[in-house]
């Protein structure tokens, strides 16, 4: 008689398992991050408590974190929409750049000195432009099955260069002393802030989007179709659903929403167009969507955690002189552990006795 480990498929997955596995993954990622920090001669305890203090320790910290989390939340909802359909939109960063460019275009060429009207003009232009930008990848996939991972990524690099072209070239503010940035936006083109915080109304938009898409996926026919197409395009085709049309539509919406994240960054926080404001948003949005297990309602919570990680990372940079990239290290680890944890959601390992003859 011998004993051996057997891997068995679980028949059901419960919400409790999801939450438990996700939390455990986060804890393990932090533990591994601690090993990493220790190896570099940094006290992990000091680093983590510093991060926690800065991001959640007081009212100011929490508002900073929420401010940081807002664009992540918006972009997270955007890519989640595509992921539901198993369309891999990796281009949220580029779409945010295009959104920022569109918002600046609105300010430069369609300016109306009325905050309410200006908001809608900006939003409309951003949605159309950033949506069309990402719909290019959707169309190429729908029409010829061109790999959307590559096209959305390449569009990131192209969007960044377009941004550089404008801020280093025709749109550069002569008064900026050579810095690549446009002139500050007039007040009417700025998003209102909530009280004395750095939280702008993009937060409300983000929460509304999360709730809307939660409802869409839960209770509408279209949401159901998107889910079916995500799980099995073949089944969807046999059921008469139009895969191609929906790929384009989903990519349009996904990109438009990511574009709004870019608009929030410049019309909200920065108040002018400048490069480097969304360097890692594309990746971050993917992490958020995945950590939320593609549930829109979980996006705000996860975004808050990632926002805290980023605020904490910035503090580490200032206080402990650690590179900002340390947050990327932690984000990568979190993602690995969550993925590894998936295994235990879908399979269980049992010790079984085998009778040898």
């Amino acid at each position: 008689m011998s004993r051996m480990l057997r891997v068995e498929k679980r028949l059901t997955q419960t919400v409790w398992q999801d939450v438990f596995v996700t939390l455990l993954s986060l804890v393990l990622a932090l533990l591994f991050g601690a090993v990493f920090l220790r190896a570099l001669g940094v006290s992990p305890w000091e680093a983590y408590s510093e991060m926690f203090r800065a991001s959640m320790g007081d009212f100011f910290g929490v508002t900073e974190t929420i401010g940081k989390a807002t664009p992540i939340m918006i972009a997270g909802v955007g890519v989640l929409l595509a992921f539901k359909m198993s369309v891999w939109n990796i281009g949220a960063a580029g779409q945010a750049f295009i959104g920022a460019l569109a918002a600046t275009t609105a300010v430069r060429y369609f300016f109306v000195d009325n905050r309410f009207v200006m908001f809608w003009i900006m939003l409309a232009l951003v949605v159309v432009t950033a949506g069309s930008w990402s719909a290019i990848a959707g169309y190429l996939k729908a029409r010829w099955n061109v790999n959307e991972i590559i096209t959305t990524l390449m569009l990131n690099y192209i969007a960044l260069q377009i941004l550089y072209y404008f801020v280093y070239g025709p749109w550069r503010d002569p008064a900026s002393l050579g810095f690549p940035m446009t002139a500050p936006f007039p007040l009417a083109a700025r998003l209102p802030f909530l009280g004395e915080t750095r939280i702008h109304i993009g937060l409300i938009l983000a929460v509304i989007l999360a709730i809307v898409f939660w409802y869409v996926f839960r209770s509408t026919r279209w949401g159901y179709e998107i889910r079916v197409m995500g799980q099995s395009p073949r089944t969807a085709r046999f059921a008469g659903m139009n895969y191609g049309k929906n790929v384009v539509l989903v990519m349009f919406l996904s990109g438009a929403i990511a574009g709004i994240a870019g608009m929030g960054e410049i019309a909200g926080l920065a108040g002018r167009l400048q490069p480097g404001f969304t360097a890692d948003y594309g990746y971050t949005a993917i992490i958020v969507a995945w950590l939320a297990r593609l549930n829109p309602l979980a996006i705000p919570l996860v975004s808050f955690l990632i926002g805290a990680l980023q605020v904490g990372g910035e503090t580490l940079q200032i206080v402990m002189r650690l590179p900002l990239a340390s947050t990327l290290v932690l984000q990568g680890l979190v993602l690995f552990f969550v993925l590894g944890g998936e295994f235990f959601r879908f399979y269980r390992i049992r010790l079984v006795r085998e009778v040898s003859d």
Binding site: N145, L153, V329, G332, F336, L339, E342, F346
Partner: protein, 309 residues
């Protein structure tokens, strides 16, 4: 003519890191594992290559260390996607995020330093061939290693028993298993070796091409390599052709910048990425709608032996 030869020779040099990355990914994907972590692996390879060369003064040690670092990093992806059967797209992205972070983090102390890289060695005989000699045979030794690797991988996949087994594992793991091939072992080997080769591509950037380390210096080459695998329909020979094509665009763009062109630099910098999309579209259309020719049939799908019984 002189200008053309110069551009083409430069194309070979700037195409070489992409060749390594593309060949590594072909090896991995032939075994059925999709690795989207190339960008992260190249960066870690570039940093390791630079750091080890800096401390030891031996560029070859740096390149060897980069190979090992690439294997170590990709082992995360291998474990998650082969043993834990996780989503390969997300795991690869995690690898890119992690590798980008780790290289920026650890690389901070090397910013601004320089190393002595590999010198150029003209191949006796071959370098005297008119035009061709100057384009292909007046480079550093690592370029010649890349030629050898193209030929070797080509021969390996087409003509060897082990290559056949690898392709079987990537196409129909179930059948491969029935043939007595250890699918898990083959996939691990292909993923680890592939990751090591990708990292050498990264090391080429820092150790040979620029002799410096800068954050994010792979600048999308890892992703271009992922696209080139499709362009090459998983064929090492076509991969080399594609890499030189892109190297040519990069070299051409750099020369135009150096010549002080009036075209804005960002528009030039866009060219390689734009060309990647155009080529990808062209190649996908030519192969027709639906499944890509030459793609390993079970690429990206986890394999679970127990389910087969």
């Amino acid at each position: 003519m002189e200008f053309m030869v110069m551009i083409l020779a430069a194309a070979v040099r700037s195409g070489t890191p992409i060749i390594f990355a593309t060949l590594g990914e072909i090896l991995t994907e032939k075994g059925g594992i999709l690795n989207l972590g190339l960008e992260g692996i190249m960066l870690v390879g570039a940093l390791t290559g630079f750091a080890v060369s800096f401390y030891t003064g031996q560029p070859w040690l740096g390149i060897g260390a980069a190979f090992l670092a690439g294997m170590a990093l990709v082992s995360l992806h291998a474990f998650v996607s082969i043993t834990l059967r996780g989503n390969q797209v997300v795991s690869g992205l995690a690898l890119t995020i992690f590798g980008t972070g780790v290289s920026a983090f650890l690389g901070q102390r090397f910013i601004g330093l320089t190393i002595t890289g590999l010198g150029r060695v003209a191949v006796p005989g071959l370098s005297t061939i008119p035009v061709v000699g100057r384009i292909f045979f007046e480079h550093d030794l690592l370029v010649y290693v890349s030629y050898f690797l193209v030929a070797f991988l080509w021969w390996f996949l087409v003509s060897t028993r082990a290559g056949l087994h690898l392709r079987a594992v990537g196409d129909t793991p179930r059948v491969a298993e029935a043939m007595g091939i250890d699918v898990t072992r083959v996939r691990y080997l292909a993923t680890l070796l592939g990751g090591g080769i990708v990292a050498v591509g990264g090391a080429y950037l820092s150790v040979v091409y620029t002799n410096i380390w800068t954050e994010g210096m792979s600048a999308g080459r890892g992703w271009i390599a992922v696209a080139l695998v499709i362009f090459a329909i998983w064929h090492p020979g076509r991969a080399a052709f594609g890499a030189y094509l892109f190297g040519g665009v990069v070299a051409f763009q750099l020369r135009l910048q150096a010549a002080g062109t009036r075209v804005p630099i960002p528009l030039l910098m866009m060219l390689p990425y734009l060309l990647t999309i155009v080529v990808l579209v062209f190649i996908t259309i030519r192969q027709g709608k639906g499944i890509l020719f030459g793609s390993p049939a079970s690429l990206g799908q986890p394999y679970f032996r127990e389910e087969s019984t």
